[in-house]
């Protein structure tokens, strides 16, 4: 029925089956939309956030998706600026994931603020000293860049491409794409960094506070670095997942392995930096503020294990697997590595949001535990459902994977 829209030379499942699948995810999406409307109409009392947890699940989700979406800028940087041309076979998908991640982040932010209708005050009454202002500006600009990067892909749809104007537009946009890639990389470096700075500048919160370079705390650089390092793992993970779901090979192994190798070395170097940072903070910064580093982990719930999970399990392990040729070329090895990496970076963002809130600073204050309400969970799953739908539609109607035709001859 919709065969005219499907890219040439590839096979897609029948439309009714596709629609059924969409309907299931669509139901989840509607559940999320319902929760979102509740939050907008009734206010944030719908959440389990409170005055101790001003930032919670949503801000974590924001930081996590932006880190995971970091694959887009870093792959773009590698391909367009550093000339890793093989990556052209995965860049479309990386851009799509980036687009989904960043649009989701913006949506979650729009739910998270208490006065969404005044959200634009962040631009209008901007406080240039605030890390969040930097985040807002760079995030919006980079989202615009991602849209521009995603647009030619949409226009490459078989029917749209027939329109001469669109065809030419696409062609020309491809020509100037390096400019956008460079812009994107520049903006990303800043907003990933400022997201790290959000926690790092909090000198009232010794768990988060980091010394740094000029106005930027060390977390600024660590966040950028980790996004570049871990983002590609998410791209690889989703590519592999797409291959599992479609039961087709979509990207050649050499492409994946190249990206995996780069990611591995990035994680490796990042985790060394992270260990140095942790050590400096634990044995110099925190003691000056009157804290032993163990004070931050003495809650009954997960204690010190979260630090071990983040650095060893989610950092050293995936790095070691990915930098060894044998590790990254084995299917199991790659799967384990990317999944651990995703967990690792998500844990890092979790810690830098939730644990910052949980650790008592006043000596007579208490650890407070938090569990999100269903509205928070639903609105956090909402972008996932939206991402699945957009990925499914893009995969079905757009030439996302240039190597698909070659790898799956009719």
């Amino acid at each position: 029925m919709d065969s005219a829209l499907i890219p040439e030379g590839v096979k897609r499942c029948p439309l009714p089956q596709f629609t059924k699948g969409l309907a299931v995810v669509g139901a989840v999406l509607l559940w999320g939309v319902f929760a979102m409307l509740l939050c907008w109409l009734k206010g944030l009392n719908q959440t389990n956030m409170n005055d101790y947890y001003g930032f919670a699940l949503w801000i974590w989700a924001d930081l996590a998706v932006i880190a995971l979406g970091g694959g887009a800028f870093f792959t773009g940087l590698l391909k367009y600026i550093l000339g890793k041309d093989e990556l052209k076979n995965i860049i479309n998908f990386a851009v799509l994931i980036g687009f989904i991640c960043y649009s989701s982040a913006l949506l979650i932010l729009a739910i998270d603020i208490g006065q969404p209708l005044r959200g634009w005050f962040i631009f209008w009454h901007a406080n240039v000293h605030s890390m969040l202002t930097e985040v807002a500006f760079c995030l919006s600009c980079y989202f615009a860049v991602l849209t521009i990067e995603y647009l030619p892909l949409v226009l490459e749809n078989r029917q749209l491409d027939k329109v001469p104007f669109f065809h030419n537009l696409t062609h020309n946009m491809h020509e100037i794409m390096p400019v956008f890639a460079a812009t994107g990389a520049f903006l990303s470096c800043f907003h990933q960094g400022s997201l790290g700075g959000v926690a790092g500048v909090l000198y009232g919160r010794p768990f988060a506070y980091r010394e740094g370079l000029l106005v930027w705390p060390w977390t600024f650089f660590l966040f950028t670095w980790s996004a570049a390092a871990y983002g590609p793992c998410f791209t690889i993970f989703l590519t592999k997942l797409m291959e599992k779901i479609t039961t087709k090979k979509l990207v050649k192994d050499n492409v994946i392995e190249l990206l995996a190798k780069i990611s591995g070395w990035m994680i490796f170097t990042y985790i060394i930096a992270k260990i140095i940072d942790t050590g400096w903070w634990a044995f110099r910064t925190a003691p000056e503020m009157g804290f032993q580093w163990t004070d931050f982990y003495n809650n009954a719930f997960y204690g010190i294990w979260i630090l071990i999970a983040e650095i060893v399990v989610g950092g050293i392990f995936p790095a070691l697997i990915l930098i060894t040729p044998k590790g990254r070329s084995s299917s199991t090895g790659l799967w384990i590595a990317v999944i651990l990496a995703i967990i690792g970076v998500s844990l890092n963002r979790w810690v830098m949001v939730l644990q910052v809130m949980a650790v008592p600073v006043l000596s007579f204050d208490q650890w407070v535990l938090y569990f999100p309400s269903w509205q928070e969970i639903a609105t956090t799953i909402l972008p996932v459902a939206y991402g699945v739908i957009l990925t499914a539609l893009s995969y079905r109607y757009l030439p996302i994977f240039p190597q698909e035709k070659e790898l799956n001859p009719a």
Partner: protein, 736 residues
């Protein structure tokens, strides 16, 4: 023109671009943000002219002056009156939130009558006529004495009007709420010869020993006590608190002695033992101004050696000896009693022992000591009531509560005995009950029995301002003005050292169809006619008040808000006492030489002891806590709807209870579900429960939250006086 897809697409894109570039979206965005700043459901308080009005707080006997900030006709804020001798600008939590009582949705807005269990509005004429008809009938049937009253205000013209009405009509059964002041007055009468009130000169004391008195938990005049204790810190005066629990008062003390509850009298006698045996007392006082010293000394030396006292009280022998010496050697020592806020009178034994402690150190009538205070400044005398024959005969009847009778000849009022008397069917049943300025259903101990007793009274009339528990049980309500809407004199005692009267004035016009209770009394009396009407010749309450105060006081009061008797001078002990022998008479040893009042209940079934505790964050008396107070109630007292009781972690471990666990608290009087809070600041084996929760009536901020201590603790008649001497009750606590 045929619209094809391309055309449609370009039109669409064009339109979108056009709208984006137009000012429209920007204007809408801007308007929306402005709208969020002026949400119509977020109130905008209207501005107006600001006026500050002086008045008097009447929410507790403390006697604070208040400054009411009014904007136009709205009361916006209540603050302490600067320069007022009691509170000089400071104010307690309840006084500060009083405007919430004025504007409470639970105000009674018009006279109402209960018809088939439902309230129906009636006119004032009908309401007053219903009462006078009933009263006339009862008098005609010779049952005048079956009209009873429970009133809150202990002094002042409204209380005087009630007393006058009962005397002229012919019923002895008017009962006032009792407190530690009653126990003190009795002791003062027995030892010094006149039934006066105690004044405590904290401002000049250099050593204060408190037997469980919540000196900064609402005892006496709360704000004055805060100031006095703060001042003691400046003067480096020492303060010792004897209390089983680390209350706020104990926390502020220089020394906390966690005594076994109920044994305070023994400790006082033990300290007396130390003073007597070491001859640390004021010799001249004992030799020249006392009677009965030798007998008393003999009794104490025989029965209360520190070793024995230590065993009973849980306080070390050495501590007792040191404390006794330190107290006696202090220049201006002062010992006080009256547990918590002093809402329960307490035993004669305890009050007398503490008073003797003061006497022995020679601080009666002295700087930093205990003063004999008049009940208030002198008023213009009213003409004597001349009861007619019916009334004279009815007044010969014995009081229902037994006060002044054979069993308890010394007691003035015993409202805590009323429920028991009614429920056991003794005496002629009450036919008509007036409740004014009181909320006995909530404040009297043993709630179940009180409810049962009240249910047995055929007709109850309430003069409440708010729909409280007692008003709910009434058959007719004649709502009084809220205290911010009415004139009233507020004579202050509360342990102050000079007689003071405050004047409450209407800071706003009455909001509803209410009537001053004084006017209601006058109207009732005048309608009853004859001699009764003759006794109430005032035009209305305001003229009565003005005449009673006299021109000079009235002028000063309307201007300043308070009047202090500058002439008053305490009589030092050297100038003798009012007793027949003009001497201090030591209490009859027999009245002190017996075991203290114990907690009732079977120790096997109820192995723990429940005590009630007072705090400034909850109103524990007749007035229900307004929303601000509920808001500042800690979560270690109230969690969601659950009352939280405090126990020692050791007790909790024995019971297998963890912090926040649900449990069932039971006493011989009642049981209920609670949560537990573990705190090291309480003696093991005790369960502490905050007073002021468990209201059945009032607004949604208060009603249905927690439990009422009075539902768990019953009254215990003091064998010497009849006053309620309960300080706790046996209890059990089990995992729910």
């Amino acid at each position: 023109m045929k619209i094809d897809r391309r055309c449609f697409l370009s039109l669409g894109i064009g339109a979108a671009a056009g709208i984006t570039l137009s000012p429209l979206p920007w204007k809408i965005t801007d308007d929306l943000s402005i709208w969020t700043q002026n949400w119509p459901w977020t109130p905008v308080p209207p501005d107006g002219k600001t006026i500050n009005k002086k008045s008097a707080c009447q929410l507790c006997p403390g006697g604070c002056g208040i400054a009411v900030r009014r904007i136009d006709k709205r009361v916006v804020k209540i603050e302490g009156l600067k320069g007022h001798p009691v509170n000089d600008g400071g104010l307690c939590t309840l006084g500060l939130s009083a405007a919430q009582l004025l504007y409470s949705p639970f105000r009674i807005q018009a006279p109402v009558k209960k018809v088939n269990g439902k309230w129906r509005k009636i006119s004032w004429d009908d309401a007053l006529a219903t009462i006078t008809t009933k009263m006339t009938e009862l008098r005609e049937e010779g049952k005048a004495h079956t009209v009873a009253g429970i009133i809150g205000g202990e002094r002042g013209t409204v209380s005087m009007l009630w007393q006058r009405l009962f005397k002229a009509y012919g019923s002895p059964n008017l009962m006032r709420n009792t407190s530690m002041e009653d126990a003190y007055s009795l002791v003062l009468q027995k030892t010094q010869g006149n039934r006066v009130l105690p004044g405590f000169d904290f401002e000049n004391a250099d050593f204060v020993l408190s037997f469980g008195s919540g000196l900064i938990d609402g005892w006496g005049s709360p704000v004055r006590m805060f100031r006095a204790l703060g001042d003691m810190k400046n003067r480096q005066a020492k303060f010792v608190q004897v209390e089983p629990r680390l209350s706020n008062t104990a926390a502020k003390a220089d020394q906390w002695l966690p005594i076994i509850p109920g044994t305070e009298a023994l400790l006082a006698l033990g300290l007396i033992h130390v003073i007597l045996s070491e001859s640390l007392y004021q010799v001249r006082f004992v030799e020249q101004h006392c009677e009965g010293f030798d007998n008393f000394k003999k009794m104490v030396l025989e029965t209360y050696p520190p070793e024995q006292v230590a065993k009973a009280t849980g306080i070390k022998v050495e501590t007792i000896k040191e404390l006794g010496r330190e107290f006696a050697r202090a220049k201006n020592p002062l010992a006080v009693c009256g547990r918590g806020q002093g809402l329960t009178p307490g035993s004669f034994q305890e009050t007398a022992a503490v008073h003797v402690l003061n006497a022995l150190t020679g601080n009666l009538g002295e700087k930093g000591g205990v003063l004999a205070m008049p009940a208030g400044p002198e008023y213009e005398e009213w003409p004597e009531v001349e009861p007619d024959d019916v009334a004279a005969e009815a007044l010969q009847q014995k009081r229902l509560d037994g006060a002044g009778g054979d069993e308890f000849p010394d007691a003035g009022d015993l409202p805590t005995r009323l429920a028991q008397v009614i429920n056991t069917g003794k005496g002629d049943g009450i036919q008509l009950l007036f409740i004014s300025g009181a909320n006995p259903v909530y404040t009297l101990p043993d709630t179940k029995a009180v409810q049962k007793a009240l249910a047995a009274i055929p007709f109850k009339v309430s003069f409440a301002t708010h729909m409280d528990e007692s008003a709910e049980m009434a058959d007719l309500i004649l709502p009084n003005h809220c205290f911010l809407e009415r004139y009233e004199d507020v004579p202050v005692a509360a342990g102050l050292t000079s007689p003071i009267v405050n004047l409450a004035v209407p800071v706003v016009k009455p909001m509803y169809n209410t009537k001053h209770v004084g006017d209601s009394i006058i109207a009732i009396a005048q309608a009853l006619g004859d001699e009764i009407a003759d006794a109430f010749s005032w035009e209305n309450y305001k003229t009565c008040l003005k005449e009673t105060l006299g021109d000079e006081k009235w002028e000063k009061l309307t201007e300043e808000g308070y009047w202090v008797d500058e002439e008053f001078k305490p009589v030092p002990w050297k100038e003798g006492f009012k007793s027949a022998a003009t001497k201090f008479i030591f209490p009859d040893p027999a009245r002190l030489n017996h075991p203290p009042v114990s907690a009732s209940g079977d120790a096997k079934q109820f192995p723990l002891t429940l005590i009630a505790c007072d705090s400034m964050r909850l109103a524990g008396g007749a007035v229900g806590s307004p929303p601000f107070l509920i808001k500042i109630t800690p979560d270690s007292v109230l969690l969601k709807e659950d009352l939280v009781v405090e126990i020692n972690p050791a007790t909790a471990a024995d019971l297998g209870l963890k912090e926040g666990a649900q449990a069932v608290l039971a006493t011989p009087k009642g049981s209920g579900r609670v949560r537990v809070h573990l705190d090291h600041g309480i003696r093991p084996g005790l369960v502490a429960m905050a007073r002021g929760l468990g209201h059945g009536a009032h607004d949604k901020y208060l009603a249905g939250k927690g439990l009422n201590t009075n539902a768990f603790i019953g009254p215990v008649d003091d064998p010497d006086s009849g006053y309620d001497a309960a300080w706790g009750i046996s209890a059990s606590l089990a995992k729910a």
